[in-house]
């Protein structure tokens, strides 16, 4: 059995101080299909060689613009998308290619919260069935116990347990998101991928959901991978932040550090592009406006992927891919000509 084989190879058992998730040189490519006969005209390099660690109990923020591969990375880590290459380790165990019963067992330890609270709940199911489905799938409880567990989960996310027999369309976006969170908690996971969980919500509701996620984290000792395009939200909720651009990680740093002293020019311009809700600050800010649009992930630029829009790019940037290098404690950036 391959499982026992890997178990033997681990010299030291995984402890809580080790990273919960370790991603090594992860690649996810999607074929671009053209024409009638499916002939691949190249690949979308959605995730293209990502190294990342997520520590137990932390929130790792993952930011980047649409198409940078952040959602694909999140989905690949919890094995909803097949990786093309590289490895994913969860609690020290290689899960890159586990399937069948082993994969289903893994599903009890990981969960996901989705962006769109409308599309992510089956409109034909009641709230109770939605929240109860993980319980049924894994045979965690039956009958009265199951009902009690569903009510408990709804209470935990701040919903009235009486709503278990209602349908999703009777609720507003924020409440639906709470239902989605209850479903994610049903298997009592350790690790949750939050894929833009508040982007689709009304402004006045966003803070409720952020606070809920923070409370649940400390209550259930959860580890989050928090994916978002809004750096102000990510900075608020994360311990560390990874910035992605065109399938690659450009910079990883503790949240405060990333904001105070970004080293990668992309991070710098991303920070300066985010409006601050305060005219006194906002009108006096200096902006680094980027030229043009993101390059195509089918045919990414040679060398550094950001060079086509980078204000600091030099000829060398086109020749070699800059590696992630250390800039102080826990601070990594992939740039030949970093910001000071």
């Amino acid at each position: 059995m391959p499982e026992t084989a890997t178990a033997k190879h681990i010299t030291r058992a995984w402890t809580v101080n080790d990273p919960l998730v370790t991603v090594g040189d992860l690649k996810v490519w999607f074929p671009v299909a053209t024409g009638l006969i499916q002939r691949s005209a190249g690949y979308v390099h959605a995730v293209d060689g990502v190294d990342l660690e997520i520590k137990a109990g932390e929130t790792l923020g993952l930011v980047g613009e649409s198409g940078c591969g952040k959602s694909t990375l999140g989905r690949t880590i919890i094995r909803l998308v097949e990786p093309t290459g590289g490895s994913i380790k969860f609690k020290g165990e290689d899960i890159t290619h586990v399937r069948g019963g082993k994969l289903r067992a893994l599903r009890r330890e990981m969960a996901m919260i989705f962006q769109d609270p409308y599309a992510s709940l089956d409109p034909r199911q009641t709230v109770g069935d939605i929240v109860g489905e993980p319980i049924d799938v894994h045979g965690l409880a039956k009958g009265k116990q199951r009902q009690e567990r569903i009510r408990e989960l709804l209470r935990v996310v701040g919903m009235n347990p009486r709503y278990a027999d209602r349908y999703p369309h009777e609720f507003s976006g924020g409440q639906r998101q709470r239902i989605g969170i209850a479903r994610a908690l049903a298997v009592e996971p350790q690790f949750i991928v939050c894929d833009e969980p508040i982007s689709a919500l009304d402004v006045s509701i966003q803070a409720q959901i952020i606070n809920l996620l923070e409370n649940l984290q400390s209550k259930f000792k959860l580890t989050y991978l928090f994916i978002a395009h809004d750096l102000s939200v990510v900075k608020h909720i994360s311990n560390r932040i990874a910035v992605m651009y065109l399938g690659k990680v450009m910079e990883v740093a503790p949240a405060g550090q990333l904001y105070k002293r970004p080293r990668h020019p992309y991070t710098g311009s991303l920070l300066s592009a985010i409006p601050i809700p305060d005219p006194a600050v906002e009108l006096g800010r200096e902006r680094v406006l980027l030229k043009g649009d993101v390059a195509s992930p089918v045919d990414p630029p040679s060398g550094c992927r950001f060079r086509t829009r980078c204000p600091r790019a030099k000829p060398h940037c086109a020749e070699e891919i800059p590696p992630l290098e250390t800039f102080g404690q826990e601070h990594l950036a992939a740039c030949f000509y970093p910001l000071d």
């Binding site: 966003q206 803070a207 608020h236 991303l270």
Partner: protein
């Protein structure tokens, strides 16, 4: 003082639904001065978009059931559809949230950008196209002459939004209404488009109504600001003053509930409790009172009017109108 360019007076727009009549815009009044950028902020359902649509008379299936929209001495709610068409696209232009669907996929971009001049100025195809090319260049489309021959799907989201702005500007309108123009765009592209809108405002002197839910966008763009909640204006005033000393509890708590990039890490957010109101069944009195931390008895019975509070602001709130300062932990 000079006459405002556009004056909305006590506008009421309703939608009929199965569950009853929805007052999407419920007595909204404001002025837009020549050359200024006015922000209208609020959450989905607050009526900000319907207000803009009603100004352009594009509110259908909603109906304008009261009020006036005064523009250049005429009431836009009363003129004929023919006269309104003459104003749309010529005097007032509108850009929308979704640049993916607001251009017609079967026509070349340059042809579409030139459409208003063919329609309103009676220009021939050639003249309209060359003016479209120059306008595309002015809004920052590189090699505009060749890109004008592209179809919309060959443009990225940011470029399409630039093309929409170019189309709006070809007839040098007096008013540009931008309805969530950057919501569908990435932040770096949003920064580009906002920069372009600032530039347009300066160069063309076009008065702009910027509708958004993003308080950060308003902070950097608008001189004046209107905050809407449940179909009504709850606060209005100069942007600086509203952000510094909000006079309506909704604005006050909204500003405290959003994470700021420049805030200290892990300073907990203070959310507004409860849910956005159901427009079909609004609470009595002030619509915000069930979620309001400052409410007094009166708030649940009587609807407050929008009155002057403080030096430069207006607010529809019994509490601040009586002189109470909004303060909290």
């Amino acid at each position: 003082m000079t006459q405002p360019l556009l004056e909305v007076q006590d506008l009421h727009t309703v939608f009929s639904t199965k569950e009853g009549q929805v007052k999407a815009v419920d007595g909204v009044s404001f002025e837009l001065n020549a050359g200024e950028t006015l922000g209208i902020v609020g959450e989905s359902g607050c009526g900000k978009s319907v207000t803009a649509m009603s100004i352009m008379r594009l509110q259908r299936p909603g109906r304008i059931v009261g009020g006036k929209v005064m523009f250049k001495g005429q009431d836009l709610t009363r003129i004929s559809e023919y006269e309104m068409r003459e104003i749309r696209g010529r005097e007032m232009a509108m850009i929308f949230q979704d640049p993916m669907t607001s251009l017609n996929p079967v026509y070349r971009v340059g042809w579409q950008v030139g459409e208003p001049t063919r329609l309103h100025n009676g220009w021939d195809a050639k003249k309209a196209f060359s003016s479209a090319v120059s306008m595309l260049g002015r809004v920052g489309i590189p090699s505009a002459a060749s890109r004008a021959r592209d179809y919309p799907h060959q443009f990225s989201g940011g470029m399409r939004q630039r093309a929409m702005i170019a189309m709006g500007l070809t007839t040098t309108p007096h008013v540009l209404i931008a309805d969530e123009p950057t919501t569908a765009l990435d932040v770096t592209i949003q920064a580009q488009i906002l920069d372009l809108l600032r530039h347009v405002n300066r160069e063309f002197g076009t008065a702009t109504i910027l509708i958004t839910h993003n308080l950060g966008v308003v902070a950097g763009m608008c001189q004046r600001l209107i905050v809407m909640y449940a179909g009504k204006i709850v606060e209005a005033g100069p942007t600086r003053d509203v952000f510094a000393h909000p006079k309506h509890p909704y604005t006050w708590s909204l500003l405290r509930s959003i994470p700021r990039l420049d805030a200290d890490i892990h300073e907990p957010l203070k959310p507004i409790e409860g849910l956005p109101p159901n427009l079909i069944d609004l609470p009595g009195g002030c619509s915000f009172h069930p979620r309001c931390a400052f409410r007094v008895d009166k708030c649940s019975h009587d609807v407050p009017a929008l009155l002057r509070v403080g030096e430069s602001q207006q607010a529809a709130c019994w509490v601040t109108q009586s002189g109470t300062e909004l303060k909290g932990a």
